[in-house]
């Protein structure tokens, strides 16, 4: 007892691949809007696969944003908790190294680093095949509700978030932030 709990807010997916970028765009928006304490890490995990297991070792609670292909109406959010999470993650296997997030969780388990609290905010994609395409309208619209869901889950875990009064350093830069990436190029 008395140990501080460390929480990881993680977005995964490939921003170059239309709705597959949901997780990263959600965590980017979350970071832009909210300021969090030192005990919370907000991470753009991209398509890192197994390489992410070490972040799980360093945190004991995990909130994941990811695209999930579960045959729902595009843009539908699905909130999954605990042991149900491994069944849902990864609309696509997230890494070229074939490791879906299920494998990351299993690997964490093998290293005795399985999160004590685990929640997934999943979003049903419309299009995963449009290479270089933006988020589709339904998924873009779902971003807002996904942030609210995240705030609620963190509150359950006793973590309060504070809206930023002024802009912090963005999570993604160099023209791949949401606004710049999606702008039309002449």
């Amino acid at each position: 007892m008395g140990e501080t709990s460390r929480t990881l807010v993680l977005g995964i997916g490939n921003i170059l691949w239309a709705d597959e970028g949901f997780g990263v765009r959600a965590v980017e928006a979350f970071h832009r809007r909210y300021r969090l304490g030192d005990d919370v890490t907000v991470l753009d995990g991209g398509t890192q696969g197994l390489y992410l297991v070490n972040f799980l070792q360093e945190h004991d609670r995990l909130l994941v944003f990811d695209a999930i292909d579960y045959g729902l109406t595009p843009g539908t959010l699905k909130i999954v908790r605990g042991d149900e999470v491994p069944k849902f993650t990864g609309a696509k296997k997230m890494s070229l190294h074939q490791t879906g997030f299920q494998e990351v969780l299993s690997a964490a388990d093998l290293l005795a680093a399985y999160p004590k609290d685990l929640a997934l905010i999943g979003c049903q994609p419309l299009d995963l095949e449009d290479w270089g395409g933006p988020l589709t309208e339904p998924v873009r619209t779902a971003l807002e509700a996904s942030l609210e869901a995240a705030v609620d889950i963190l509150a359950e875990w006793g973590i309060t978030v504070e809206p930023r009064e002024e802009a912090g350093e963005p999570l993604l830069a160099n023209d791949i932030d949401f606004t710049a990436y999606e702008r039309r190029i002449a």
Binding site: L16, L50, Y51, K93, L96, H97, Q98, E103, W131
Partner: protein, 596 residues
């Protein structure tokens, strides 16, 4: 009925067809079809895959100084390598020179990625093709300890350590959650290790999983963050101030020392765990020398890790550069990435359209126009292919060729070229490894050789990190702490129209980016990645690529459980492939396996 390919293989597709089809839709869906003879020996191989494509569409009109950030997202493992290749391409186009310190830091980052990737590939993506996890459960911990201590001085080797591990593993397996170990061909006849060697390897699987967090700290320090470290056209984005304090801001002495200690640990882990494991595993597979394919014939490397900043000539590059054709180790020919007649991509058997498909296109002039059509002998439908027709178009991967020749790229290619060039740092460790295993030089041209070359290269890379870290420290001590050249940062200082090429040796092989810049914006951008070279379909002359070649003439113990196919494909560390299942000729699913 056999077809002789121009690159020396005899293809016969009259026997039973086995389809190994990974279903998972990652950034590449890889599928392999082979024909086996009545002895279950592979006599024809057809490799197909979807490849990421369209980076040129995403990048057209963007600022070339940001291209690295996009290319870093192409792949989840080669992130830094793509970024480095991209900044090199832009610097080449704009004739930007980087400071010595930037060269050292980039080399350390690239080498750290090599070490990281090779370790993770071996233990987490490939070892289980050689190591039977379930067999490890019946190992004797005491005997495992004796085995471990007989091959290495690595301290984690007591009987108690292996006993605890075995208990953990048992619990894990019994919980029904095999996790990363699920869908293996456990108990397959092609597994040759005794239970103790299996248990030792599983222990190191877990240690490597834990150790990787140390390696990536190098990227966090020099790249500002990880994953997705920062890069900069003109140098590196980190400033150096040795007198600074704290963990933020410029690189200070404390953090330089941290990098140094991580490098020591990388060297230690490679020498005391990775290499001894490869030797121990190799000693049980000395009779399984299949999978050589193109490696004994034609290989290519661009070279990488420049000793001197801005000097990308072979004399400055520490990783070998050149091409060997038709097994002639006496002649290593230079590669010119700018020569329109050397590197060309063909689409005769790829799902793209060219105005004239008998000719290839140099990447600067590359076009990517999808054109999905199947050959007349295809079985099945466009959306549910049962068997491909390799005489028609059959892959989303293009066929890059060097002067018309298919070549293998990757660690084995680099070691063969270094060996042929008589470079002691590549030849001596190779000779020693072969001698210790009691194998002739020809054994190098095999799946095992590919796996061994990667381990040797990991050791080489760890040692080179030490070299460049020392060099960086020396330069800083001499009063030079510059890390970036911003003279040509502003687009107003650029010519109206320029083009450039950047190259690296990614962990899995030669990587090139070609960029055309017009009025300060990207006009065309093409990347030819290692898996395109290795995984390419046939070319107009019928030459087969490295994956297809490597599968030829391999006997399968059980065609329904093609562990041998998976093992050889994994030895390339391919940037696609995923969960596979095996289909019989009538399209019935027979077996499913998670390819790691």
């Amino acid at each position: 009925m056999g077809i002789q390919t121009p690159n020396g293989f005899n293809l016969d597709n009259s026997g039973k067809r086995i389809v190994v089809d990974p279903v998972t839709r990652i950034e590449g869906h890889m599928r392999v079809e082979v024909n086996v003879d009545d002895q279950n020996v592979i006599r024809n191989a057809v490799s197909t895959g979807t490849m990421w494509r369209g980076i040129e569409v995403i990048l057209r009109g963007r600022d070339p100084r940001d291209a690295w950030a996009f290319t870093e997202r192409i792949c989840g493992v080669c992130t830094g390598t793509h970024a480095l290749t991209s900044v090199r391409a832009v610097e080449n186009a704009l004739d930007i020179k980087i400071p010595e310190n930037a060269n050292s830091i980039r080399n350390i980052m690239q080498l750290a990625l090599q070490v990281h990737d090779h370790l993770v590939h071996f233990y987490h993506l490939h070892a289980l093709d050689w190591v039977d996890v379930v067999s490890a459960l019946s190992a004797d911990p005491k005997a495992t300890s004796q085995l471990a201590q007989s091959i290495s001085s690595w301290p984690l080797s007591s009987p108690g350590y292996f006993k605890d591990l075995q208990t953990r593993l048992k619990k894990f397996v019994e919980s029904g959650q095999l996790g990363p170990f699920k869908n293996g061909y456990w108990g397959h006849a092609a597994y040759k290790l005794p239970p103790e060697a299996n248990l030792m390897a599983v222990a190191h699987y877990l240690e490597a999983l834990d150790f990787q967090k140390e390696i990536v700290k190098i990227h966090t320090i020099y790249g500002g963050k990880n994953p997705h470290p920062n890069w900069l056209v003109g140098g590196v984005p980190c400033a150096i101030n040795v007198d600074g304090v704290g963990a933020v801001g410029a690189i200070n002495m404390e953090r330089l020392n941290l990098v140094s200690s991580i490098i020591d640990r990388c060297i230690e882990f490679t020498e005391q765990v990775y290499l001894p494991d490869v030797m121990a595993i190799g000693s049980f597979y000395k009779d399984w020398l299949y999978g050589g394919g193109l490696s004994g014939k034609s290989v290519m490397a661009y070279g990488d890790i420049p000793e001197r900043a801005n000097d990308y000539s072979p004399s400055s590059l520490k990783l070998p550069h050149g091409v060997i054709l038709n097994g002639n180790l006496k002649e290593v020919m230079p590669v010119d990435l700018k020569d329109p007649n050397q590197i060309q991509e063909f689409v005769t058997h790829s799902w793209y359209k060219y105005p004239d498909e008998t000719k290839g296109l140099h990447p600067w002039d590359g076009v990517t126009e999808p054109h999905y059509e199947l050959g007349p002998k295809t079985k099945g439908t466009k959306t549910n292919i049962e068997a491909l027709d390799e005489e028609g178009k059959y892959s989303w991967i293009k066929s890059p060729r060097w002067k018309g020749n298919a070549v293998e790229v990757g660690p084995l290619a680099r070691y063969i070229i270094g060996y042929a060039q008589n470079k002691a740092e590549f030849k001596d460790p190779t000779d020693k490894l072969l001698k210790d295993l009691g194998l002739p030089i020809s054994a190098l041209f095999s799946t095992l050789g590919r796996t061994a070359a990667r381990a040797l290269e990991c050791q080489w890379a760890a040692d080179q990190m030490r070299h460049f870290q020392d060099k960086l420290m020396a330069t800083i001590k001499n009063g030079d702490s510059s890390t970036a050249n911003t003279e040509k940062w502003k687009p107003e200082s650029w010519p109206r129209q320029v083009k450039g090429v950047g190259f690296t040796e990614a962990p899995r092989g030669a990587l090139g980016h070609w960029v055309k810049i017009e009025n300060g914006k990207i006009d065309n951008y093409q990347a030819v990645v290692p898996t395109t070279w290795n995984g390419s379909p046939r070319d107009p002359k019928g030459g087969i690529g490295a994956f297809e070649a490597a599968l030829m003439d391999t006997p399968l113990a059980d065609p329904n459980q093609p562990l041998e196919i998976i093992r050889t494909l994994h030895s390339f560390d391919p940037c696609l492939a995923c969960s596979t299942h095996v289909m019989s000729e009538d399209g019935q699913e027979m077996t499913k396996v998670t390819v790691r």
